[in-house]
């Protein structure tokens, strides 16, 4: 029996096991949730972003409808379209959607513009198990102490690395920016790979990187009151140096690299490390052909060397539009409780959604086998290292993200010097916050 044949047998067995697990889960769920939230054949209208939790629903829609005991009308759109459609929907006299997905960073904007229903009074006595969510995650669904969203797909941005290669060359897992640069320099050009992949594309992608670097340096981007931009904080200068250093060890096309492209490049063996939204690890852990599968180490976001380690947590929440028809609010709320229940979150995870929505998902033994990152993220959460303050949910967040992503893109492209970039970003941020 050759190694290749043994491998095929193992893969077939693993697939069969996963299918049995999935269908057993469905069978168990069907009996456990005999009365879905849409019982009576009602329909629910959803506006979701095209992220894993929605993609799984798209793929398994008949199963979800069976579990929900009704009809699901699902609109899955891109990131910007989710934002725009939700705002435009808020202008209607009656909402066209019952439940919408909300990026945590939009919470401030939506709350101040009255786009969402305040869920605070609905939560006590409901099926929502607040204790099952990481506290910093739960808080991200709030604005001014009021709850507007229930977590459906939160996960942190962390650093993953090829532990097989690091181990081979005797390099420790990176903990600081200096460690990252040294490791990136070591691996760049070896084994046909670049040192590191990351979000460097112009606009929101690089803007997000910049916000996360504030966190790595322990700087609140808009001050502790979320009102005063801190781009000109002297500590942030090191962040610009870090970005310029990363450019030296990045793959071709880095100036256009964003989101899943960095993960796919890593999965294909194109780089030795990558920053990644942790839930996207399923891209390589679930791909038998990926050299990174089973060979990936997971660490929290590296710091500037002085700051306390924190990994930025972001993700998606479910909310109810404020102009939802009065007679449909209960239906929408029942649906949210059902979708964010431990059983449904586990069902979604078992079908390929590798994000970390709750403790019960992260501590499920069967799911840990599928997603090796779970225990690491669980520990980060337990240590209080999962934080959202570096992604302030102010109404101007999108604008600031676009501003930073444009100015610092000019910097890493070599068009402007770091000092000029900092000055421009600071001036632009002050102007945006004043509006």
């Amino acid at each position: 029996m050759t190694d290749g044949f043994r491998g095929k047998v193992r893969r077939t067995a693993a697939l069969a096991f996963a299918s049995v697990l999935g269908w057993a889960a469905l069978g168990g769920l069907t009996s456990a949730l005999a009365d879905g939230p849409l019982s009576g054949g009602q329909n629910i209208r959803l506006l979701f972003v095209g992220d894993p939790f929605a993609q799984i629903m798209q793929k398994e829609l008949p199963a979800f409808e069976k579990l929900a005991d009704g009809k699901i009308q699902l609109d899955v759109v891109g990131y910007a379209e989710t934002h725009n459609k939700t705002l435009l929907n808020s202008q209607q006299s009656v909402s066209a959607y019952d439940v919408v997905s909300i990026d945590a960073v939009w919470m401030g904007e939506y709350a101040s513009d009255g786009v969402l229903t305040d869920l605070t009074s609905m939560i006590p006595g409901s099926e929502v198990n607040v204790a099952d969510f990481v506290p910093s995650v739960w808080k991200m669904g709030q604005s001014d102490g009021r709850q507007y969203g229930i977590p459906i797909q939160p996960h942190p941005e962390i650093l993953v690395y090829r532990k097989d290669l690091f181990g081979r060359d005797g390099i420790a897992a990176p903990k600081t920016w200096d460690d990252v640069i040294k490791a990136a320099a070591h691996f760049n050009g070896k084994d046909g790979m670049a040192g590191i992949c990351w979000n460097a594309a112009r606009g929101a992608a690089l803007g997000q990187t910049v916000f996360h670097l504030f966190g790595d340096a322990g700087i609140h981007p808009l001050g502790t009151d979320n009102k005063t931009p801190q781009v000109n904080d002297p500590r942030f200068k090191d962040a610009t140096k870090y970005l310029m250093e990363l450019m030296k060890y990045s793959p071709p096309g880095i100036l256009n690299m964003a989101w899943d492209e960095r993960v796919r490049t890593y999965a294909q063996g194109g780089c030795a490390m990558t920053y990644i939204w942790a839930g996207r690890a399923a891209i390589f852990e679930g791909d038998p052909k990926s050299p990174a599968r089973g060979n990936t180490g997971y660490v929290g976001a590296p710091t500037d060397g002085d700051a306390k380690p924190v990994s930025p947590i972001g993700g998606w929440f479910l909310g109810i539009p404020s102009n939802e028809a009065k007679d449909r609010v209960k239906l929408a709320w029942n649906f949210i409780q059902w979708m964010t229940s431990a059983d449904m979150l586990k069902f979604s995870a078992a079908h390929g959604n590798g994000t970390m929505p709750s403790y019960s998902v992260m501590r499920d033994p069967e799911l840990i086998k599928m997603y090796p990152a779970y225990p690491i993220i669980d520990k980060l959460g337990a240590d209080g290292d999962l934080q959202g303050w570096m992604r302030p949910p102010v109404p101007q967040f999108e604008e600031l993200s676009e501003l930073f992503g444009t100015v610092f893109h000019d910097m890493i492209s070599g068009k402007i010097a770091p000092d000029e970039a900092i000055a421009k970003a600071q001036a632009g941020a002050v102007k945006d916050m004043a509006q």
Partner: protein, 275 residues
């Protein structure tokens, strides 16, 4: 009486959005229903006139429109002349050449985005086979604009070709017979007979492509995100409408500015056609 319903529909579809945009341009307002709506008068227009970013976008639009329209017109006419010849296989080539026009612009932009990818795009691979080092096409100040112009030319040259081919088909044979009798060479016949006869069609196609190219937004949106000096005016309108906060009134101002600009540029051409 019979045209009244059509006029009403046209008025609602064309005039109402325009006047609503004018109203928006006189206010500071946001997308969400409870975003504050504040009367600012002509402040948005003054801001647009004095904003260097706006004028950079106008310059980018001018370069894009000039480059794309000129290339499409010359190339489309040349291909139409070839297709008008009696060479074998022309009907088949004509049918195949029209395919790019049938593709959705956003799909075309996506395909070109991946073709220009420095790591795995086919453009760099082909150049590599010729010994040319890879380039960062979509972020380089000198290459990004030619890249999006190329994407536009690829998609819309067949449209120009179709219109010019149809025009060539209507040219009377006897003028060429007369030219032959007068001893004109083929080039002279093209210059003194064909081109003047094609002039009205050329002007129409230039007008159509000019207006269309000015409105183009999907190429920088998908391919460059404005990098490499490709932040054309429609892209700036998009950013102000949907990304920046409470600036949809300013976006309306920029959109009206765009209409005025297109009208000023297109009017002389339209007058020559007799529109």
């Amino acid at each position: 009486m019979f045209v009244t319903p059509a006029i009403v529909v046209l008025a609602v579809v064309n005039l109402f959005p325009f006047f609503y945009a004018v109203w928006m341009s006189l206010h500071r307002m946001g997308l969400a229903v409870r975003a504050p709506v504040r009367w600012v008068g002509f402040h948005n227009y003054v801001q647009a006139a004095t904003d260097s970013e706006v004028w950079s976008s106008v310059a980018a639009s001018a370069i894009f429109v000039g480059g794309a329209v000129m290339t499409e017109t010359v190339l489309g006419t040349a291909i139409a002349l070839v297709f008008n010849s009696k060479l074998r296989g022309m009907p088949l080539f004509r049918q195949v050449s029209v395919l790019p026009v049938m593709i959705m612009p956003i799909v075309s932009a996506l395909v070109w985005f991946y073709m220009f990818n420095p790591r795995f795009g086919i453009v760099n691979w082909l150049l590599g086979e010729l010994g040319v080092p890879p380039h960062e096409w979509l972020t380089n100040d000198w290459l990004a604009m030619p890249a999006i112009i190329l994407a536009d030319v690829w998609q819309w040259t067949p449209f120009v070709m179709l219109v010019m081919f149809a025009a060539l088909q209507t040219l009377p044979e006897y003028v060429y017979e007369a030219a032959k009798i007068d001893g004109l060479s083929r080039f002279q016949a093209f210059k003194w007979v064909t081109l003047p006869l094609l002039r009205p069609t050329l002007l129409i196609i230039i007008l159509i492509r000019l207006v269309d190219s000015f409105k183009m937004m999907e190429l920088p949106f998908i391919m460059t995100k404005g990098a490499g000096n490709t932040e054309v005016l429609p892209y700036l309108v998009y950013l102000n409408a949907f990304v920046f906060r409470n600036t949809i009134g300013y976006a309306a101002t920029l959109a009206i500015f765009m209409i005025v600009l297109i009208t000023v540029i297109a009017r002389p051409i339209a007058r020559r056609i007799g529109v």
